[in-house]
C-alpha cells in the first residue's frame, strides 16, 4: 500500500511510501487523507521523507487536505526533499503550509 498512518500523541502521521507524489496517485492520496479526516483525525502530519518528486496534482491533493481541515484542525508537512521544497517555493505554497524538518519536530512543535 502506498500510504500508511500511525498515531503519535494526538497527531496522525501519514507516511507516503512512494518516491513520486504525482497525478497517477494524487487522487488515491486525497481519498486516503479525506477518510482520515472524516474519521475524526484533526491533527495530520504528512511525512514526505520518501517523496523525491511532486507535481502540481500531488500538490493539489495536499492543498485539498489542508482546505478540508481548515479552521477545524492542523495539517502540516515534514521532511520535504529539495525538489519538493522547490515546488513549494515556486508556487508560494510555502506561505500556506507549515514545513517541518522532521516528523519529530512536527509532533513536538505542534
Amino acid at each position: 500500500m502506498a500510504f500508511e498512518h500511525r498515531d503519535e500523541g494526538h497527531f496522525t502521521v501519514v507516511q507516503i511510501e512512494e518516491t513520486r507524489l504525482d497525478a497517477s496517485i494524487a487522487e488515491a492520496f486525497k481519498t486516503y487523507v479525506f477518510d482520515l479526516i472524516d474519521n475524526g483525525k484533526t491533527a495530520i502530519v504528512i511525512d514526505l521523507a520518501e517523496v523525491r518528486f511532486m507535481d502540481s496534482s500531488g500538490l493539489g491533493a495536499l492543498v485539498a487536505g489542508l482546505k478540508k481541515l481548515s479552521g477545524n484542525g492542523t495539517f502540516s508537512l515534514a521532511s520535504a526533499q529539495p525538489a519538493v521544497k522547490d515546488l513549494f517555493d515556486l508556487t508560494s505554497m510555502d506561505k500556506l503550509f507549515k514545513l517541518h524538518s522532521s516528523v519529530d519536530e512536527a509532533v513536538k512543535g505542534g
Binding site: A23, S24, D55, S57, G60, L66, S70, A83, T91, K95
Partner: protein, 143 residues
Amino acid sequence: MSQVLKLEIDSQLSNTTMIAMAVRGVCAMTTLSPVEINRLELCLVEIVNNAIEHAYDNEAGHPVEVCVDLDNTMMNIAVSDWGQSIPDDVIEDKAEPAMDPEHPETWLCSGRGLHIVNKLMDQVSYESDEGKNSFIMKKELRH
C-alpha cells in the same frame, strides 16, 4: 548539429514516469544543474499529464509523443497528442492565480501546471496542425 530523441507512451498517467526518467537521462548530457533538471522534469510531467488528462480525458489507448531536440545551446521538448486541443483562453492565461493564506477559497487544488511551466521554461508555444497538438518548451543551455 542537433540530436533528436523521439519517445511515445500510451495515454496512462502511470507511464509518465518512464518519459521523465528518459529525459532526465538526456539532461545528464547537458550543462543543466541538478535543480534545473528537476525543474525541467516537473515541466515535462505537467505537460504530458495534461495531454493524458485533458486531451484524452484520461482514456488509455492513445499516443502521447515526446520529441527532445538537443544542440549545444538549446534543449527543445515537444509534447504531442491527437486529442482535444487546449483552449486559447487557457494557453493565453499567463497570470498566476493570486493566493491569500487568509482566504481558503483562493487555495486552488488544480490548474497550476501551465503556470509552473510558463515560469520555469525559457520559451513555450502551442500549435495544432491536422489534429496533432504540440506543446513546445525550450530551455537554453550554458556553453
